[in-house]
């Protein structure tokens, strides 16, 4: 058993020892440990994968939500637009109708006023005629000595006349 000549005994024992270690460790350590590591790695990978899927789903959901919100907004806008359009239309219509009614009423009023005016004029004409007759009657009844007396008389008479 020199430094560089392998001794038979040590070769025998080390081979035996190594094989025993190899056998025991393979059966009771490496296999369970490697299997556990594999399993853990797989579960981590699965977890990561499912997290990825969940994240994607979340993103999809979010996108969908946004889409829905966007659509809703557009719809709301269009509804608002339509409503304001309708309202405007209605106001327009109402205005037009009111105008028409107003015009008709105005026409009617004008016509009524006209008739009233005609009637009043007729009446005035009659009254003026009556008054003129009364004035003339009084004038004739009086003595027209002077122009001043005549003037005074006319003024008195006019004062007495109560228009309407």
């Amino acid at each position: 058993m020199g430094l560089i000549t392998p001794g038979l005994g040590l070769i025998f024992w080390s081979a035996l020892g190594f094989l025993i270690v190899l056998f025991i460790l393979t059966k009771y350590a490496w296999k369970p440990i490697l299997a556990a590591l594999d399993e853990r790695e797989k579960s981590i990978e699965d977890a990561l994968k499912s997290a990825e899927i969940a994240r994607n789903e979340m993103a999809n959901l979010k996108a969908e939500n946004e889409k829905i919100i966007h659509e809703a907004k557009i719809e709301r806008d269009s509804m608002l637009l339509a409503a304001s359009e309708t309202a405007k239309q209605m106001i327009e219509n109402a205005k037009a109708l009111a105008q028409k009614e107003g015009n008709i009423m105005l026409e009617n009023a004008k016509a009524a006023i006209e008739t009233e005016k005609q009637a009043a004029l007729e009446d005035i004409k009659v009254q003026v005629g009556v008054l003129s007759l009364a004035v003339a009657e009084k004038l004739l009844k009086r003595n027209f000595s002077s122009d001043a007396a005549q003037q005074q008389l006319v003024e008195e008479l006019v004062k007495d006349i109560k228009l309407n």
Binding site: L3, G7, G9, L10, W13, S14, F18, L25, P32, L34
Partner: protein
């Protein structure tokens, strides 16, 4: 850090010098460095220290098988002087004796016998095996009792190494189809060498992984596993290298066949040399203290010893990694599926 380092060095040098009287008592120049080789080599007894004339040793079993006398069991102290603990031809028993250079001989040189003694290195190996089994089986317990949870305790210590061997050594060199088949072997190899290297660095520990018999055995395992798993392509590459003209094959084939053996040979020598050299360097620095008998040299030597010890920690890991890596590469070459020829 540096201050601690120097303090530790001074403490150690005082410690070593305390023992130097005992070493000097031994006498002549040769004895001052004589402890180096016996330390890195195998031995029939485990010698811890000599204080004055008292030897602190652990006698180990000597087991011999011979065709004529059968299996025989002794204890190493049967072969030595009880006072001086020296082996020698004078202290033989049952026809065997251990020389002073720690080799076992039969008194009748023509007899054949096989020596299966539990030597210092074998005893060391048993301790290493116990440590490895304890570490790994307690780590495995975690995975059985609490599957799917984060590693704790010993499991958290060995798991990164296991994952490293599997993902960085086995997978890239062997390929994803077959790497799991060889991962247990590579893991065992790595931890066997690594723990062996580290424990060999303890004071009084045996140079177990720096013994050529052990590195030979491990290299042979890699050789066997490589070649029994070699596929058609692998053997075709050896015996009829594709794309090489026939006359050249006469040269290539012998080279390839030699190559089959040089690979494990390189594995064997590399580990043996790296670990043994490290031990010799450390012991040489310690021997300097005894040679010069000076406190200054003692201080410097001890600083160097501490420094080399740190390097050895690194070497222990690197050599375990390299041995495992090359084993994986050789296996990978044997099982690789070529589709380019």
């Amino acid at each position: 850090m540096a201050r601690k380092f120097i303090r530790l060095s001074i403490l150690l040098s005082v410690f070593w010098l305390g023992f130097s009287n005992a070493a000097l008592a031994a006498g002549d120049e040769e004895d001052k460095t004589g402890f180096i080789l016996p330390h890195v080599m195998d031995n029939y007894e485990w010698h811890f220290a000599t204080i004055g004339h008292t030897h602190i040793t652990l006698p180990l079993p000597v087991i011999i098988y011979s065709p004529d006398q059968g299996l025989e069991f002794f204890i190493s102290s049967d072969f030595q002087n009880h006072e001086t603990h020296k082996f020698g031809k004078a202290y033989g028993k049952n026809g065997y004796y251990i020389e002073e250079d720690y080799t076992l001989h039969a008194e009748d040189p023509s007899r054949t016998f096989y020596d299966f003694s539990i030597t210092k290195n074998v005893a060391m190996m048993f301790i290493v095996i116990a440590v490895i089994l304890f570490l790994m089986l307690s780590a495995a317990k975690h995975y059985k009792s609490k599957p799917g949870t984060a590693p704790k305790g010993i499991a958290s210590f060995v798991e990164p190494i296991i994952v490293f061997v599997r993902d960085e050594i086995a997978l890239p060199n062997i390929g994803h189809k077959k790497y799991l088949k060889f991962t247990p072997y590579l893991l065992t190899l790595f931890f066997f060498i690594w723990i062996g290297n580290l424990m060999g660095l303890f004071p009084e520990a045996a140079n177990f992984t720096g013994n050529i018999a052990l590195t030979f055995t491990l290299a042979i395992f890699t050789f066997i596993i490589t070649n029994i798993n070699g596929n058609k392509d692998y053997w075709k590459h050896v015996f009829a290298t594709p794309g090489v003209p026939v006359p050249l094959l006469l040269i290539i084939v012998p080279v390839e066949i030699i190559g089959l053996f040089t690979k494990p040979f390189a594995l064997m020598v590399r580990l043996f040399v790296a670990i043994t050299a490290g031990h010799i360097v450390i012991l040489s620095f310690i021997a300097l203290i005894f040679v010069f008998e000076s406190f200054a040299v003692g201080l410097a030597s001890t600083v160097m010893v501490v420094f080399i010890n740190f390097i050895e920690l690194l070497v222990a890991t690197i050599q375990a990694y390299v041995f495992t890596l090359f084993s994986a590469m050789y296996i990978g070459m044997a099982v690789a599926e070529h589709d380019h020829h």
